[in-house]
Structures are given as structure tokens and as C-alpha cells.
Amino acid sequence: MSEAIVPRHGLNSRPYLLVWIGLVALTAATVTVARLNLTAFAALISIGIATVKAGLVLIFFMHLKYEPLILKVMLGIALLALSLIILLTFSDVWYRWGAHVHP
């Protein structure tokens, strides 16, 4: 195996610990926000915090930061496909059965 094939990044333990602290802090934050009962925005905030946590896991634990561009593009397409499927279906359903029908 040549030097170029095996990556040399991600050997330091410190970043992993820092990311873990961040993830636990965000978990505490999302539970606190849920307890505050911000009804209208609670769901959006929860999903937002979850997405930040998922991003931290992807970038640092899964080393996405060091992956080649092609892999990032492929992941982007997969996530975009999922987002579009959910967004389009969700908007259609919201329009039919939205909060005005079932308060």
C-alpha cells in the first residue's frame, strides 16, 4: 500500500472529545427547548438541533471533512432526494389536511 492510499487524518483524540461535548450540550438544549413549550416553533427547533447534531457526527465522526468531493456530492444527492420527497409530499398533505382542518 502506498502512502497516498491510507489517510493520515483523524488521529488526534481531542477533536472527538470536543465533538462529544458539543453533542451532549445540544441534547441538553433540545430537551430544554421542548420543556419550554414554544408550541409553534418547537418542532422546527427540534429538527434544526437534530440536523446540527447529525452534521457533527457526519463531519467529524464519519470523517466526511476529509472525504473526496465526489463522495460529498453523492451524499448531497441522496439527502436532496430524501428532502424533496418529504418536502413535496409534506406540502401536499399540509395543504389538504392542514392545521385549519384539524386544529
Binding site: 500500500m1 502506498s2 502512502e3 492510499i5 491510507v6 483523524g10 488521529l11 488526534n12 483524540s13 472527538y16 472529545l17 465533538v19 462529544w20 453533542l23 451532549v24 441534547t27 433540545t30 430537551v31 421542548a34 418547537a42 418542532a43 427540534s46 429538527i47 438541533i49 437534530a50 447534531k53 447529525a54 457526527v57 457526519l58 467529524f60 465522526f61 464519519m62 473526496p68 463522495l71 453523492m74 451524499l75 441522496a78 439527502l79 432526494a81 430524501l82 420527497i85 418529504i86 409530499t89 409534506f90 398533505v93 399540509w94 389536511w97 392542514g98 392545521a99 384539524h102 386544529p103
Partner: protein
């Protein structure tokens, strides 16, 4: 250690390794997993819009403390998984195996909590197709059905992950997985982190949105 490998000569030890290809294959598998769970998340969001009140009242019956504990457990296990890979690459085989065993332990801990959680619901008569559940409002039936399917499918992934990490720990011990060829362990890590990400979304959707 890497420097001792002769690049031109390797008649006996020559193995066809494709580090980048092996990892890309794992990622492509994870894309199929994203869409697999994605379909269920789609069902969840559609029915949540239709039965908002039922979803909120049902979600408040789940145990936030247990859910939060399980979140911390999985996040911590992910960190140990990542540390086991970096330890191995630094040549610390014993420490890598220890971290893999800790990851397994935390995964089992997660499943034990899940067992108690499900037992409590089943004890109340809430399980798929139970008479108590079928008597409830339609939205509540759907909420608890999705709860069992999604956390059950996730739990199955945790179980599979634990089994694969156990195999990896044995591979590391036998040096099938080594500082020179660790892509199997790294791909196992990718799977484990993916399972963690699924839980990161399941937790607010089922426990927090009340």
C-alpha cells in the same frame, strides 16, 4: 509501521486492497439505508400533520428521561467507536479493542433500556394490534404503530451493529484488522455512526414533540 512495507515487492503478502473503493461501497449502502428509514420518516410527517393533537398527546406518554439517557448512551458509543479506529491507526491495538468493547457495552445498554421501555408499554396493553390500542383514537394507533416499527427497526440496526463490532474486535485481536488494513473497522464505524444519526432524529420526533 507503514514505512516498512516495500511498495515494489510483496510476493507473499500481496493483497488487493482498495481502501477508497471499500469505503465508497459502504457509503452507497448507507445511501440506501437513508432512503429506507426516509420512507418511514415520510409516513411520520404526513400522519403527524393529519393527527397533530393525537401525536402530541401520545408523545407525552413516552419517557423523556429514558429517551435522553439512550441518546447520550448512543452519542458516547459513537465517540468510542471513532476513538477505537484512531487508536488502532496509532498502533495501540489493546486500547482499540477496549474501545470497541466499550462501544458494544453501550449498544447493549441501549437495547436493555429499550427492552424496559417497550415492556412498560406492553404492560399497559399498548402493542401493535392490541385491544387497548385498537380502542384508541386513530392518530394514537398510528403514532404507536410508527413508534414500534421505527424504534424496532432502529433497535435491530443497533443489534446488528453490536454483532459486527464484536466480529471486528476478534479481527483486531487476530490482526485481520490492523493499522495497515483497517477499512473493515472504519466501515463498521460508518454503519454505527449512521445508526446514531437515525436515533438523533427519532428522539425529538417521538419523545420531545409534545
Amino acid at each position: 509501521m507503514r514505512n516498512t512495507v516495500d511498495r515494489n515487492e510483496g510476493s507473499i503478502s500481496e493483497k488487493h486492497l482498495d481502501y477508497a473503493g471499500a469505503k465508497m461501497g459502504m457509503w452507497i449502502f448507507l445511501f440506501t439505508e437513508i432512503l429506507f428509514f426516509g420512507g418511514l420518516f415520510l409516513l411520520y410527517s404526513v400522519y403527524r400533520v393529519k393527527y397533530l393533537a393525537d401525536f402530541h398527546s401520545s408523545a407525552s406518554e413516552l419517557d423523556i428521561v429514558l429517551g435522553t439517557a439512550n441518546t447520550i448512551i448512543l452519542l458516547t458509543s459513537s465517540m468510542f467507536m471513532a476513538l477505537s479506529i484512531s487508536s488502532l491507526r496509532k498502533g495501540r491495538k489493546g486500547r482499540s479493542i477496549l474501545f470497541q468493547l466499550i462501544t458494544i457495552g453501550l449498544g447493549v445498554f441501549f437495547l436493555v433500556n429499550k427492552y424496559f421501555e417497550w415492556s412498560a408499554h406492553i404492560h399497559q396493553g399498548i402493542y401493535p394490534d392490541s385491544p387497548v390500542l385498537l380502542d384508541m383514537a386513530r392518530g394514537r394507533i398510528i403514532f404507536f404503530s410508527l413508534y414500534y416499527v421505527m424504534t424496532g427497526l432502529h433497535g435491530l440496526h443497533v443489534l446488528i451493529g453490536v454483532a459486527i463490532i464484536a466480529v471486528m474486535a476478534a479481527f483486531t485481536q487476530r490482526e485481520t484488522v490492523s493499522p495497515l488494513d483497517f477499512v473493515k473497522l472504519e466501515n463498521t464505524g460508518l454503519y454505527w455512526h449512521f445508526v446514531d444519526i437515525v436515533w438523533i432524529y427519532l428522539f425529538p420526533l417521538f419523545y420531545l414533540i409534545t
